[in-house]
């Protein structure tokens, strides 16, 4: 199968690639969210610990 046939997917290219594209999007999003949350949590905890030190 050559490249253009592969993309075309027998006329169903839009459907097939939308599906795979959406899957990729979902996987990336669910990976991205915890990573971003991690940064937020670390930042919040640093703040929290700093305040705890101050008010000791």
């Amino acid at each position: 199968m050559n490249w253009s046939e592969f993309v075309h997917m027998g006329g169903y290219g839009f459907y097939v690639w939308s599906s795979y594209g959406l899957a990729l999007l979902v996987l990336l999003l669910n990976l991205y969210l915890p990573l971003r949350r991690r940064k937020t949590v670390r930042r919040l905890l640093h703040e929290f610990l700093r305040l705890k030190e101050q008010t000791r």
Binding site: M9, G10, Y12, Y15, L22, V26, N30, L31, R42
Partner: protein
């Protein structure tokens, strides 16, 4: 529960036995301790991620390049390699969620509470993915973006169950009450899912014209089975990876009062 008088049970252990029991309990508590799990999860995550990537790449390769086109559906059937594993994951994750919730309810283990709560977004995502890919698969076959096919309808109801779970958890402020209430909801849901599935199947056979079969599952050729399994396993390890990542975040947040978290942050900053 009324307290009966203390009569020795026939299963009472000897003194040695009691000591062994205590050691086992201490050990279990160590494993269920957030700190231990945090480090363990941190070590496991890269391996899980690597395994995920490997399985998904292999699955995609076999699915897109090796498996031949279907006789009836042409190339569009390749959506099956996303749709079916996603549907399986949506079910599997719900069961995990309910199981973890049950353990958290009965044995009061915080770690399982955290796990259950973190299952929901990933599970809902897979359900959503299964629904949309089901639509995308159905459109070229039936000419309509949505058909009340048995599997799609069951997935839709499962999506609502996930939404309900997440809404309940979000609307309770106290994390303990939220976890326990959601656990009960998940258990009620998990008992209902077979009933719902059965009812929808029945409803569908009654109303669907004979010509349109169940989202046209092509007869499973062995070359199609391999990518299906690879993608499913890949998604499973993906779920574990994400769950571990989310749990680590939650542990840090929940255990912020402990010394080990303080030390960890100091050493990292």
């Amino acid at each position: 529960m009324r307290e009966r008088g203390k009569t020795p049970s026939p299963l009472a252990l000897s003194r040695e036995g009691e000591l062994v029991k205590i050691y086992i309990l201490i050990d279990m508590h160590k494993y269920a301790s957030p700190k231990f799990f945090y480090t363990l999860a941190g070590q496991l995550t890269p391996w899980m991620a690597a395994l995920t990537a490997l399985l998904l790449v292999a699955g995609l390769y076999f699915g897109l390049f090796i498996a031949p086109a279907d006789y009836q559906q042409g190339e569009s059937y390749r959506i099956i390699f996303i749709h079916v594993p996603a549907a399986w994951m949506s079910m599997f994750i719900y069961v995990c969620m309910a199981g973890a919730g049950a353990i958290a309810l009965v044995w009061n283990v915080k770690l399982f509470e955290m796990f259950a709560g973190n299952c929901a977004p990933v599970g809902a995502s897979f359900t959503f993915l299964a629904l949309v890919t089901g639509s995308l698969w159905g459109k070229p076959m039936w000419g309509a973006w949505w058909a009340w096919d048995a599997r799609l309808t069951s997935e839709l109801i499962l999506f609502f169950l996930y939404m309900g779970y997440m809404a309940l958890e979000a609307s309770i402020d106290d994390p303990r009450r939220a976890a326990r209430a959601s656990a009960i909801l998940a258990l009620v849901g998990v008992v209902n899912i077979p009933v719902i599935h059965f009812s929808v199947e029945w409803w569908n056979t009654l109303h669907q014209p004979a010509s349109v079969s169940k989202i046209g599952t092509p007869s499973i050729h062995p070359s199609m089975l391999a990518p299906l399994l690879l993608m499913s396993l890949g998604f499973t390890f993906y779920f574990f990876t994400v769950a571990l990542m989310r749990m680590r975040n939650e542990i840090l947040e929940r255990e912020r009062h402990t010394t080990w978290v303080a030390q960890l942050l100091e050493s990292r900053s």
